[in-house]
């Protein structure tokens, strides 16, 4: 060995400094839980939705939930605790929620926020079906958040796990970390790309044209204007359900709750003891998906 004592000391100092720097960097980010989300009274919303509609007995649950939503939005964001309750006994597997979500968020092919999983049990004639809508679970211990290398995804004060499309580099690490498969990547596809186009006189052979203009309609997720043209975000990003935050801000329920024909999807503030969702999660033996993963989901299932 040709290293002398001075070499050893220098090697020790360098390696020690390298080790200290790595430990320090990891600890700094591990111990920090603060997000830059605005909080406090400034985040409360005074919404007029349904204010001129007198409350009636036996109102539809959608109307009740919307009133509760307006009530929740009047509180600062950190005092809201959004949860979703899905009554699988009522779900008929119509996929209206899936499609409503696609339309609301302008989801391109291959991107889905709320698929409905269909399972068959038994053997004919003793068979049954179970439908399990699977939105993002908005976990309280979200495994997708710590794996993001650039702080592009985080847990908001109201519990929704958000993505900043302008920060996301599209590495897809979060996709692998979600045990529910709730994140999908926008690979830049269009439904109508290469679809046949007719010609005005109808004589010439149809050609394969570019995608239709309606596919360039912007989405308004996270209350912003997202225009995908020119490979702009959210194209190239990880995408997921966000409980339709942009709708909540104007007093509207998430699209999936609104479009559910069987009234199987409930949404509201779990910090409101009088809300329907609080009533449901306390009255029923609700379950969560993959509880052994320790993610503490905010989507509950009545089975």
């Amino acid at each position: 060995m040709s290293m002398n004592r001075r070499d050893f000391v220098r090697a020790g100092v360098l390696t020690g400094a390298g080790l200290a720097a790595t430990v320090g960097a990891v600890l700094k980010d591990r111990l920090s839980t603060e997000t830059s989300d605005p909080k406090g009274p400034g985040t409360a919303r005074s919404l007029k939705v349904l204010s001129d509609v007198p409350e009636q007995a036996n109102e539809d649950v959608l109307v009740r939930m919307q009133r509760e939503l307006v009530r929740a939005m009047a509180k600062p964001v950190e005092q809201r605790r959004w949860i979703m309750v899905i009554d699988t006994r009522k779900c008929v597997g119509c996929h209206a929620c899936t499609i409503g979500c696609v339309a609301e968020n302008k989801l391109p092919p291959g991107v889905v926020y709320r698929p409905v999983v269909t399972e068959e049990f038994g053997e004919f004639p003793n068979v049954s079906l179970r439908f399990t809508p699977r939105p993002c679970m908005q976990c309280d211990a979200p495994p997708c958040v710590p794996v993001c290398p650039v702080h592009a995804t985080w847990k908001r004060p109201d519990g929704v796990v958000a993505i900043d499309y302008d920060k996301c580099i599209g590495c897809r690490y979060c996709l692998t970390a979600c045990p529910y498969g709730a994140r999908t990547s926008d690979f830049g596809e269009y439904y109508t790309d290469g679809a046949a186009e007719g010609t005005p006189d109808g004589d010439a052979r149809p050609t394969l044209g570019p995608h239709a203009a309606w596919e360039d309609q912007p989405s308004h997720e996270y209350c912003k204007h997202w225009d995908r043209t020119g490979h702009k975000s959210p194209m190239g990003n990880a995408r997921k359900c966000h409980f339709c935050l942009h709708r909540l801000e104007v007093g509207q329920l998430p699209m999936c709750a609104t479009t559910c024909i069987g009234r199987a999807t409930y949404f509201g503030d779990n910090n409101d003891p009088d809300s329907l969702v609080t009533e449901l999660v306390t009255k029923h033996n609700v379950q969560t998906l993959l509880p052994h993963k320790g993610t503490r989901p905010r989507v509950f299932y009545i089975v």
């Binding site: 070499d7 390298g18 650039v150 580099i169 599209g170 590495c171 990547s185 690979f187």
Partner: protein
């Protein structure tokens, strides 16, 4: 021993013929790769085979293979320099080792960069990193390692530098850490039962040392065979280096397969959550990647050649290990993603990017060939620069 006889020692072709063969092969790889690159840049990710349920494919496997080779080569080469192993003690050899590391790691970065959805934002991982993410941690480790490697290369021209050896120690520390972190990169993902194993960092480190040793051996053999061995003083030293690298590679191979057996045997003995992924590896549609590419061509055949043959057979064995060990990465990467936790999810909303079956596409293979060509090209270029700088410097050892 003359150059021509040394070439005959290592390869069945003459030095010039081997050089021509490598050049033609490199040009073909480069041309094919450029086609893939143009396709990737023009059409984005559309021609790729990965999707949302299997988000990473061939390029990510090549990335981990490349950084593994870089780490393994550096550990072995720098240790050889510090411990005064014959043939490794010369600064010129150290420079070749460093150039080989950089030539392995640069295309790896290129591969993972092309894999990003927003390539233009790649720098964010350095400007606003989150060190709770193993990806950010890894990226910083690689960057630090590259800086250390380049500084070591520069200092290797100063025979009297008191910082070269300490810096190499730090480099060894980092190059042991980052291949291990590559395993941790997957190991921390609790969502994938097959990945969530504490053995994975050890497996990846072993794989890095094995592939690194094999790559270094192959490079030593090829340099000797092509007659371009400026840093090897004599055949004796080259033989010594190859013998040592042969032992390292054999030990690495045996250890790797022992760890792999440990992992697989537990899930096969008492099927647990990651048994479906192991089933996929052993008996799935890509069974041949494990049995033929990984086990036969990347393990058993090289072991036989290392045990029975002479230097020429050892060179072939090393090349086999260096190339076929990418299957070790693929066999961790793809089956881990190909088993979902929510049964029926694939059928719930059907699209080609929403399934658990991954087939690499032509574009991915073409870009893969670009990465290989880039590695070879960078190595040749870097080595020429090293030799040119050395010839102009009066302080070279």
């Amino acid at each position: 021993m003359s150059m021509s006889s040394s070439a005959a020692l290592w390869a069945p072709l003459s030095g010039n013929a081997l050089r021509r063969l490598i050049t033609v092969g490199w040009i073909l790889l480069l041309l094919a790769g450029l086609v893939g690159l143009v396709q990737r840049l023009a059409q984005g990710h559309l021609p790729a085979g990965y999707g949302s349920y299997v988000p990473w494919g061939l390029w990510v496997a090549l990335y981990f293979h490349g950084v593994g080779i870089a780490g393994g080569v550096f550990v072995i080469g720098a240790l050889g320099f510090l411990l005064d192993w014959p043939a490794f003690r010369r600064p010129a050899v150290l420079r070749t080792v460093i150039v080989l590391c950089l030539a392995a790691i640069a295309p790896a970065f290129m591969g993972v960069w092309l894999d990003l959805g927003h390539m233009e934002r790649a720098a964010r991982i350095f400007t606003s990193p989150s060190f709770t993410s193993m990806m950010a941690f890894n990226a910083w480790m690689y960057a630090a390692f590259v800086v250390i490697a380049v500084l070591s290369w520069v200092l290797s021209y100063r025979a009297d530098s008191g910082w070269l050896k300490p810096l190499l120690c730090l480099g060894i520390f980092f190059s042991v850490l980052f291949p291990s972190q590559s395993g941790a990169f997957f190991g921390v993902v609790d969502a994938k039962a097959y990945w969530h194993s504490a053995l994975l960092p050890v497996v990846f480190l072993t794989s890095a040392l094995t592939a690194g040793g094999a790559t270094l051996l192959a490079v030593v053999a090829i340099i000797s065979a092509t007659g371009a061995r400026g840093e090897w003083i004599g055949d004796d030293e080259a033989v010594n280096a190859i013998r040592r690298l042969r032992v390292i590679t054999i030990v690495g191979l045996v250890l790797y397969f022992a760890f792999e057996f440990a992992e697989f045997s537990i899930s096969l003995w008492n099927p647990v959550s990651h048994a479906p992924a192991v089933d996929l590896v052993l008996f799935g549609p890509y069974w041949w990647v494990f049995w033929i590419v990984h086990l036969l061509l990347g393990g058993l055949l090289p072991l036989a050649l290392f045990s029975l043959g002479g230097p020429r057979a050892w060179s072939a064995a090393a090349l086999l290990v260096a190339v076929c060990f990418v299957s070790a990465r693929l066999n961790v990467l793809v089956p881990g993603q190909a088993v979902g936790e929510i049964h029926g999810l694939q059928e719930a909303f059907q699209h080609e990017r929403l399934n658990y079956i991954y087939h690499a596409t032509a574009m991915e293979y073409l870009v893969g060939s670009l990465l290989v060509a880039m590695g070879i090209g960078l190595f040749v270029l870097g080595r020429r620069i090293s030799i040119a700088v050395a010839s102009r410097s009066s302080t070279v050892a």
